[in-house]
């Protein structure tokens, strides 16, 4: 896991503008502290899947979603994947917010950038393993994107049980705590043209 400062600054609203010195220094300071304090964790399992035009069938679970079906089209298998920065990230965000609002917002942004970097790494490792076997991974696709409802989280949680293994829980309203957590589908395809070009999220 590394800190992509540009990415953290983007979360703070600096799209193309250069950040002021204090914000840049703050992002750097928190990034350094968080990198040494956080212990990110992940879990995944690979399933055979069947994809039709409007639905995906995975481990007895039929997911009605044209968007996910498009993402996974041509895939014979997919990973269910969950990752988290852990509760220490929540704790640190609260502590920084108690110090000042600016620090709190920067802590959120830094954590967002860190978890992106972490899941890119894990996704990259899965991709390398698949490539060794002549396959490729697709860009990640998370519940809440497109027409995949957040209620898909319940099914993912029932299969990965991330509560037990990486400490990620689901609230009644289907949000994850610790807050800096991600779940996703990652398709496996034999078609090199469909391989993820970078390990970012979304459908390219």
């Amino acid at each position: 896991m590394t800190l992509n400062e540009r990415e953290a600054l983007r979360y703070l609203g600096f799209r193309n503008a250069a950040p002021d010195e204090r914000t840049a220094a703050l992002v750097r300071e928190l990034g350094k502290a968080f990198l040494s304090a956080l212990a990110p964790k992940h879990i995944y399992r690979k399933y055979e899947i069947e994809v039709t035009e409007n639905a995906v069938l995975l481990d007895g679970w039929r997911i009605e979603s044209a968007d996910l079906a498009r993402n996974l089209a041509g895939c014979g298998a997919a990973y269910l994947f969950a990752a988290t920065l852990g509760l220490e990230a929540d704790r640190r965000i609260r502590t920084e917010t108690a110090k000042s609002e600016a620090r709190g917002a920067a802590a959120h942004a830094v954590c967002n950038a860190l978890i992106e970097s972490y899941i890119d790494e894990v996704h990259g490792a899965l991709d390398r393993a698949e490539r060794a076997a002549g396959a490729f991974t697709r860009p990640r696709f998370s519940p809440g994107y497109g027409d995949v409802p957040l209620s898909a989280q319940r099914e993912i949680f029932a299969r990965l049980r991330p509560e037990k293994t990486i400490g990620v829980t689901l609230t009644d309203s289907l949000l994850m705590v610790p807050v800096k957590s991600v779940t996703a589908f990652i398709g496996v395809t034999r078609d090199p043209a469909r391989a993820a070009k970078r390990f970012g999220e979304g459908d390219e």
Partner: protein
């Protein structure tokens, strides 16, 4: 007690192995609850457990790991039905020889303040399982726990609702941390304090990894230790999870585990009856290795422990309203953020433990204490000292506190001994003992020593060990009696030497009434540490005091290589106070987001100007300037927030000044803010709050995940005309609509909304009166609304 449990600690006790992994082989599907098989396929469960019994397991665990009312909701089955079936099956498999352990695992929910489950909710989930399964079981086994607070709820639920022995084991990662970040020491200290029968670790790791963590665990506790490892770290093979350590290798490693002084050994995920059979053959009948465990005076938080008797411990004294009008005002207004800020400041300044006293005659102290403990434990990692004379507040705090707490205090009065000591025993706390009684504070060291002796004796009658008592020989003001400091220190030394207990002193009182108090306080602190003081209740924000402390540690061998000393002072060789604020106006300080300068300039301005003139003349124009820049896109969020932080500091100084004179700032209008039910994202709402407060509005912040009825109550009780609601997720917008509908039906309150998923049309559709795209928009609207 079951004879097998009486063996524990003397002779090897064999626990059974994995259940869930075996059920998967028998066809349990990914989304299915394994516990329902107690009802649908009891013969499979019994077959597995009988195999474990035949393999030589002494303890069989019921197939109830994941059972609770939350997980069974919607299955059509009750906790009682599933649990009692599981106990019956295990009992049959046990065949009169094995002990049956009622198994309980994590709830699957995260506890407050980070998650949504309250302490009592968690307690009640476990209580239901205990009540359903205790009859017919020989012990309660709480396992695979990753959160100390949930662990505490489970242990209390077991102990308070049945008479069975309780064994609890936790899951650590390879670095020796719980999923919630707690250390091995923190988890074991908590369990030992709660009076479990045995403790240890299970799941998560294989025996090889556990072997590396066990020496640390065994140093923390004298109780029998149980180890149930997985069959190695899982690997994925062809889409299946495989545990790679076979029976032979598992048994060989478990022998090494046992040889360290572990009392009970079994398996967890991936282990099978074959693993347990080899284990039983090799270990059954073998005597447990004796081990020496040092007696320690220790308290803990959810993440780590603080040990007394090594380097002097600093207990931060500032969360205590006595003599602090601003804190009093904050408590009356339920402003827990102020409390959290005080906590974080002290933690940053080097406090090891924080004293928490929220006692004010006009507030509900037990309720405030509970909230304060919960909120503080969300922002600081330090153990807390629960400081109250109200037994009801004390018990509430002891219950919800995440860790082994320190109680401040008991004294030699009969009434105090009778009220406090049972609570200290029940919750396994450490306690500060004040050397005073019905006759007041003795003037002599001998008199104070006698009271200390009496308290120690009384505590021992309740089964509270000396290691859990810290005697306070009471600091008296030296300006009212020249012998006062001397008597305190003499008593301190005797107590330490003759009773063998640790000591604590609140030191600040010594200098009361004198000029340059910090000189006397700091020197007294040094003298006390020199005489063996274990902990000081001190103002860690006082530089003089911290100077004395760091010097003492460097000089007394507590700071190897003077590392802490150098870290604190190398960068600030010259103590010359900078006067950076000199060439700047308050307006500039806020626009530039310079917090310290804004505070200092406000203090200076308050010498001559009226608070309202400062607000209208500098604060608001500055915030307007920054706000306009933000709206134009020339100022970015962090800069807007830095200015808000600077303005907040200026406001804080104004409030402090007003509170000291017994006044309050007159708000421009009252606004209720809440993140709606189900939503746990509050960053947007918090930014709106800070800006509104800076513009002089009073904000009643209801926090996040707030039910519609709670918003309605706050609006009614405070006569509020404007409410602001925030929602970040599409799933929580219905809750926002519901809240708006309720407010409109029951009151004439105007409702403004904001949040990532909303836009103008959406807001109109759910009936909101105003939609704001950002925080400044809400401020502008409020200004117009209250104009």
């Amino acid at each position: 007690m079951h004879p097998i449990l009486e063996k524990l600690g003397k002779e090897a006790v064999i626990f059974d192995g994995g259940m869930g992994t075996l059920l998967q082989e028998k066809g349990l599907s990914g989304g299915e609850l394994p516990e329902l098989w107690n009802l649908t396929r009891p013969e499979v469960i019994e077959e597995i457990q009988s195999a474990y019994a035949a393999a030589g397991a002494d303890v069989l665990t019921t197939n109830t790991f994941g059972v609770n009312a939350l997980k069974l909701a919607g299955t059509g089955h009750s906790v009682r039905e599933v649990v009692s079936a599981a106990v019956r099956i295990a009992r049959r498999a046990a065949g009169g020889r094995c002990a049956v352990a009622l198994d309980m695992g994590p709830t699957g929910k995260l506890m407050r303040p980070f998650g949504e489950l309250s302490f009592e909710d968690a307690y009640n989930l476990y209580k239901e399982v205990v009540l359903a399964g205790a009859e017919g079981a020989d012990l309660v086994l709480i396992e695979t726990m990753g959160d100390t607070l949930e662990l505490k709820a489970a242990v209390l639920a077991a102990k308070e609702n049945c008479a069975l022995p309780v064994i609890a084991t936790c899951t650590f990662d390879e670095t020796g941390k719980l999923l919630t970040g707690g250390s091995i020491d923190a988890a074991m200290t908590l369990l030992e304090s709660l009076g479990v029968y045995a403790l240890g670790m299970n799941c998560g790791l294989g025996p090889a990894q556990m072997l590396r963590l066990l020496p640390e665990l065994l140093r923390c506790t004298g109780l029998p230790v149980i180890v149930n490892a997985n069959a190695g770290l899982p690997v994925q093979e062809n889409g299946r999870t495989v545990y790679p350590v076979g029976p032979k290798a598992f048994c060989a490693l478990s022998e090494e585990v046992f040889a360290l002084g572990v009392s009970g050994v079994g398996g967890c995920c991936g282990t099978t009856p074959e693993h347990i059979a080899l284990l039983s053959k090799s270990l059954s009948g073998r005597a447990v290795q004796k081990r020496e465990v040092p007696v320690r005076t220790v308290v803990s938080s959810g993440t780590h422990t603080v040990v007394f008797g090594e380097k002097p411990v600093l207990i931060g004294e500032r969360i205590n309203p006595t003599g602090k009008p601003r804190l009093k005002e904050a408590l009356r207004q339920n402003d827990l953020e102020f409390l959290c800020r005080e906590g974080v400041r002290q933690a940053d300044a080097g406090a090891d433990v924080l004293d928490v006293n929220v006692g004010l005659p006009e507030i509900d102290e037990p309720a405030m204490m509970e909230q304060a403990i919960e909120r503080l434990q969300g922002v600081v990692r330090l153990p807390l000292q629960i400081d109250t004379s109200d037994p009801a507040a004390m018990e509430r705090a002891l219950r919800v506190y995440n860790g082994k707490p320190l109680v401040n205090s008991v004294n030699g009065k009969r009434e105090s001994l009778d009220a406090v000591l049972p609570l200290v025993k029940k919750y396994g706390a450490a306690v500060v003992a004040l050397t005073l009684d019905e006759n007041g504070i003795p003037e002599t060291a001998e008199g104070r020593f006698r009271i200390a002796e009496k308290i120690v004796r009384e505590a021992e009658r309740y089964g509270i060990a000396r290691k859990d008592i810290l005697v306070d020989t009471l600091t008296m003001t030296v300006s009212t009696g020249e012998e006062n400091a001397k008597v305190t220190l003499e008593a301190l030394e005797r107590v330490r030497r003759e009773l063998g207990v640790h000591t604590v002193l609140g030191v600040s009182n010594v200098s009361f009434g004198l000029p340059r108090r910090e000189l006397v306080t700091a020197n007294f602190f040094t003298m006390a540490m020199q005489r063996g003081l274990s902990a000081g209740i001190v103002n860690v924000l006082s530089e003089a005091l911290m100077d004395a402390y760091r010097s003492f540690c460097a000089l007394s061998g507590f700071d190897p290589g003077c590392k802490d000393y150098i870290a604190a002072y190398a960068e600030r060789a010259a103590p010359a106070k900078k006067d950076a604020a000199k060439d700047m106006t308050l307006f500039e300080a806020i626009v530039r987001g310079l917090r310290e300068e804004a505070g200092a300039l406000t203090d200076a301005a308050l010498e001559t100007a009226a608070p309202l003139d400062i607000v209208n003349g500098a604060l608001i124009p500055a915030l307007d300037e920054v706000g306009k820049g933000y709206e134009k896109g020339t100022v970015f969020l962090p800069q807007l927030l830095m200015s808000a932080d600077a303005a907040k500091e200026a406001f804080e100084r104004i409030k402090r000044k007003l509170a000291a004179g017994g006044e309050k700032a007159e708000p421009k209008g009252k606004i209720v803010l809440a993140t709606v039910k189900g939503d746990i994202h509050d960053i947007g709402k918090n930014i709106v709050k800070v800006l509104l407060e800076n513009y002089g509005f009073e904000v009643i912040d209801l926090g996040k995940d707030v039910a519609p009825e709670t918003v309605l109550r706050a609006v009614r009780e405070n006569g509020v005309k404007l409410a602001g609601l925030s929602a970040l997720m599409t799933t929580t917008v219905p809750a926002m609509a519901e809240t708006i509908e309720l407010l409109h039906r029951e009151t004439d309150c105007t409702v403004a909304v904001g949040g990532a998923v909303l836009n103008e049309e959406y807001a109109e559709m759910i009936g909101a009166d105003f939609y704001s795209k950002d925080a400044m928009g809400t401020v502008r609207f409020a200004e117009k609304f209250f104009a």
